[in-house]
């Protein structure tokens, strides 16, 4: 029997381990969001995660006079352009726009919205040449006149005006610079999207290395410093912080808990055995989530392990409650009903999460349930076989002494507790508004100074705000482009009416095939063009032979292969892909709208012509609101499920009250203390409350089941105290984390479980016989 059980456990562990090893781990926030959200939300999530904006790295070079910084900027940009991993490197210098300008120049007759048959007739060309004459005459004649032999109809100027709707960053010494001249600025698009952390990290390392060598090569730049910002920079930074915090704090937490256990057990072997349930639970949990969802989210993994921390307690209950000379199997059959009810109660609490529309919550629910069930089963069927003969946790009683003092003064303690509870309720009732943390950025692990740097750089580099979008769908790419072309006059009208600063349409980068064909058909053949041009120059002081490049380019454009997405240079391809994305069987076009003056007015204009007007801030507020609402609903549903299960297990309202009342008191006082401390309730704290109930319910169940005066009673109390001290040590250390999730959970759980211990001792303990 023993061999069969152990064999089965090992087999399951290996299977789960294999699944875990082959699991697809994702860190993309989009995968954590609701699976039933609107199309706009899904596309926006994709935009935030993988859109062109996520490839951006902003650089600031400072600490030297501007002329030195300008040289440094050029040297750095030139060396970065030679590196793989960057789609384009822009510093305001000439080469910054070469790729895009080249594409636009080469394909001006297919791209320009100004190509019509009338324009290339004798009369049309005559009008164009008259206009050219006045340009030549103007102050800018020398600059603008250069392209006349190739482009007398001015297509390039038309296209450039269409491409650059904003004035762009300030320039000093030929490069982009902060307005006060304190820094040279660069804008880089990495080949890897912001969430591809390993590749991002390589790209950032390349930038740092190239900066160091460029600085060494630039005279007078020794004191120059580099600052970087952007989604990828943040993501890598967060990962580093998380890694450092998690490894450092969890190591400390482990040491703290292990120290307490070593003191109580005085047996290294038993100490290690205590890790078996949680380790088996984690493997089973990963396997279960992987099988059910097809992937495991990074947050599920990190957060889930803290949720099944309760399973460390299972081993503690078993080891500590084993009396002198008692066989572990005997102890187990004595405490198993309580342990089982505790594990089922917690699972019931997490069960509500399974039904969340947030994939992340649903994953966490399944992770916790699978983990706890596997850990309880490991405790029940596997652990007893490994405990050494005559094991006795000798040190545990010492740890429990203060609690026995509290229990002896139960009456006074209860009075104090009731007072604290009432005070907590009054405090929470009096607290007006602002209890919820409504700012999404407060949840972000990015420090306030990093956020400020990012805002300044974006402003100085005139990176357009990605808040408002016109969104529409089409069954295929060509129809999407045609719809985009039809939208151009509507948006141009809004720009002319000064309601809108600018916009980016995919059809401006790549016109539909139909439009390109129409453009080709509008261009005359070589003979007709020469004849029209000869007529057009009559009466004007032009020298027709100077326009040979124009004749050649027009004739070539007539039969040139049509442009496709593959023709685009990298920077434009990136932009095109983020403007026009495939979503299942349909194509979604997201048109960023810049400098929106009157959102409501634009929304109504757009509505008439088809596209939806989307406000990203509103969407993310709605998402956050939904997130909070769900978190509260899950906590309430989980609590109800726990009460129901307790009633099923205990079959007595009185006993359910004895177990549930201390938990209610502990959670209420915790919430009041956190609010008093100035903390705003975050969704992570709500998850923490659920965890308090899950862990605390075990304490109360054991208090409620143990009869003071029996020989088992001190062992039970000792096991609860030991379990709680380990929890407080571990979660208390997490509260020192710089990551909001870990900090909030750590603080809430450490405080709440400790209060559960006190409340349970005072309220759940049976009267002495």
């Amino acid at each position: 029997m023993r061999r069969k059980v152990l064999g089965l456990w090992l087999l399951l562990l290996v299977v789960c381990g294999l699944i875990a090893a082959r699991t697809n781990y994702r860190t993309d926030m989009g995968d954590f969001l609701p699976h039933s959200s609107s199309m706009a939300q899904q596309v926006l999530a994709g935009q935030v995660n993988g859109g062109a904006a996520s490839h951006i790295v902003l650089l600031s070079l400072s600490g030297a006079p501007m002329p030195v910084l300008a040289t440094l900027s050029d040297t750095l940009a030139t060396s970065l352009r030679k590196q793989p991993g960057f789609l384009d490197v822009m510093n305001g210098g000439d080469a910054s726009f070469a790729g895009v300008q080249n594409y636009v120049w080469q394909n001006r007759y297919l791209l320009s919205p100004g190509v019509t048959a009338a324009k290339f007739s004798a009369a049309g060309l005559h009008a164009a040449l008259e206009s050219d004459l006045s340009v030549l005459n103007s102050e800018l004649g020398l600059a603008l006149g250069q392209s006349l032999p190739s482009d007398p109809t001015g297509e390039m100027l038309l296209l450039l005006n269409q491409f650059s709707t904003t004035t762009g960053p300030a320039q000093q010494n030929g490069v982009w610079a902060a307005p006060d001249g304190s820094a040279a600025l660069l804008l880089i698009h990495t080949a890897a999207p912001g969430f591809d952390l390993d590749t991002q990290q390589q790209a950032l390392a390349q930038i740092t290395t190239q900066f160091a060598s460029s600085r060494a090569a630039t005279p007078g730049a020794a004191a120059a410093a580099l600052q970087m910002s952007g989604p990828g920079v943040f993501a890598v930074h967060i990962r580093d912080t998380t890694k450092a915090d998690v490894s450092r704090l969890s190591m400390l937490a482990l040491l703290g808990a292990a120290g307490l256990l070593a003191f109580a057990y005085r047996s290294p072997r038993v100490l290690l055995l205590g890790l078996l349930p949680i380790a088996s639970g984690a493997f089973a949990a990963i396997a279960a989530v992987s099988l059910a969802f097809g992937f495991v989210h990074g947050i599920t993994l990190g957060f889930g392990v803290t949720l099944i921390g309760e399973s460390l307690d299972y081993a503690i209950y078993l080891f500590t409650q084993t009396g002198r000379g008692e066989r572990p199997g005997e102890t187990l059959s004595r405490i198993w009903p309580t342990l089982r009810l505790g594990a089922l109660t917690s699972s019931a609490g997490f069960c509500a999460m399974l039904f969340s529309s947030f994939t992340g919550f649903a994953q966490l629910g399944l992770f916790s349930i699978a983990g706890l069930v596997a850990a309880a089963a490991t405790t029940r069927f596997v652990l007893p076989h490994f405990v050494p003969q005559d094991f006795f946790a000798g040190g545990a009683d010492t740890l429990a002494k203060p609690l026995h003092v509290l229990i002896r003064h139960k009456r006074a303690g209860r009075g104090l507790l009731v007072t604290a509870f009432i005070a907590a309720i009054i405090l929470l009732l009096l607290h007006r508004g602002g209890m919820w943390d409504g700012n999404l950025l407060d949840l972000s692990p990015i420090s306030a100074s990093d956020q400020r740097l990012d805002q300044t750089l974006r402003q100085d580099l005139a990176v357009p705000d990605q808040r408002y979008f016109a969104v529409f769908t089409a069954p295929d790419e060509q129809q999407a482009l045609q719809k985009s072309e039809a939208l151009a006059p509507v948006l141009n009208g809004l720009v002319a009416a000064r309601e809108l600063g600018g916009f980016d349409l995919p059809s401006a980068i790549l016109p539909s095939q139909a439009t390109q064909r129409a453009d080709q058909a509008a261009l005359p053949d070589a003979a007709t063009l020469h004849e029209n041009f000869a007529q057009a120059t009559s009466g004007l002081p032009f020298n027709p032979t100077a326009f040979a490049p124009f004749f050649k380019d027009v004739v070539a454009a007539r039969t040139a292969p049509l442009l496709t997405a593959a023709s685009l240079p990298p920077a434009l391809a990136l932009q095109y892909d983020s403007l026009l994305t495939r979503n299942g069987s349909s194509w979604v076009v997201m048109v960023p709208l810049h400098d929106v003056i009157d959102p409501a007015g634009i929304a109504s204009v757009l509505k008439k012509s088809g596209p939806d007007f989307v406000d990203l801030n509103q969407e993310s507020d709605r998402l956050l609101g939904n997130f909070q609402h769900q978190a509260v609903m899950l906590a309430v549903a989980g609590s109800l499920a726990i009460l129901l299960l307790l009633w099923l297990g205990l079959r007595s309202v009185q006993r359910v009250v004895a177990v549930a009342a201390p938990l209610a008191a502990a959670v209420t006082i915790t919430a009041a203390v956190l609010t008093l401390g100035g903390a705003k309730l975050s969704i992570f704290m709500v998850a923490g409350f659920l965890l308090i109930v899950a862990i605390g319910s075990n304490y109360c169940l054991f208090f409620e089941r143990s009869q003071p005066g029996t020989k088992e009673y001190p062992r039970a109390v000792a096991s609860i105290v030991l379990a709680n001290l380990c929890t407080v040590a571990a979660y208390g250390l997490l509260s020192f984390s710089r990551i909001p999730v870990l900090h909030d959970i750590g603080l809430t759980v450490a405080l709440g479980t400790f209060l559960s211990l006190l409340c349970g001792a005072l309220l759940s303990t049976k009267p002495a016989p």
């Binding site: 000439d94 008259e130 206009s131 050219d132 004459l133 006045s134 340009v135 030549l136 005459n137 103007s138 102050e139 800018l140 004649g141 020398l142 600059a143 006149g145 250069q146 006349l148 032999p149 650059s164 004035t167 762009g168 300030a170 320039q171 010494n173 030929g174 002081p541 032009f542 020298n543 100077a546 326009f547």
Partner: protein, 165 residues
């Protein structure tokens, strides 16, 4: 340079003769120049086609009856425009640092007949501009010669109307 910087405001008539490889005959234009130190410059062309060019700080407004309405640029939008415009404005304002951002500057002659030569520093500017040469006496500018890289050039002759020191 210092004496040029003393000029607070000035108006002048100009005649400009322009050649270009695309032109079969030179273009002659006339009009007035108005300058208020140090950031305002206006060039109003009367013939052959009325046109108005205004530089105010870094904003350029170009109004033309023929080229179709008004266009607004900023100087920094295009390094070519920046170089060309700063070359003239910097000379009028006697703003040597601004000139040296874009040009290698050399001065020759004496007070009664001086010559200022501007050679583009950056490749972007050199690609279309070979040089700007300014001839003058005391704190007056007489002739501005601009040589383009494509072989075209322009000579602007200036005759002051009023002169407020």
């Amino acid at each position: 340079m210092q004496s040029l910087a003393q000029t607070r405001s000035a108006s002048a008539d100009f005649t400009e003769r322009q050649t270009s490889p695309v032109l079969s005959a030179p273009l002659i234009s006339t009009g007035t120049l108005t300058y208020t130190a140090p950031f305002y410059l206006r060039k109003t062309t009367a013939s052959p086609t009325p046109e108005d060019f205004v530089l105010d700080h870094d904003k350029i407004t170009l109004t033309s009856s023929q080229a179709g309405g008004t266009r607004v640029f900023t100087v920094n939008q295009d390094p070519r425009i920046a170089g060309l415009v700063e070359g003239i404005r910097g000379t009028l304002a006697g703003d040597l640092p601004a000139l040296e951002t874009f040009f290698n500057v050399s001065l020759s002659g004496n007070v009664t007949n001086w010559q200022l030569q501007l050679l583009p520093k950056t490749p972007a500017l050199a690609r279309f501009l070979r040089s700007i040469t300014i001839n003058g006496h005391q704190n007056d500018i007489d002739i501005i010669d601009t040589a383009g890289a494509d072989g075209g050039d322009s000579r602007m002759s200036i005759r002051p109307i009023t002169d407020a020191p």
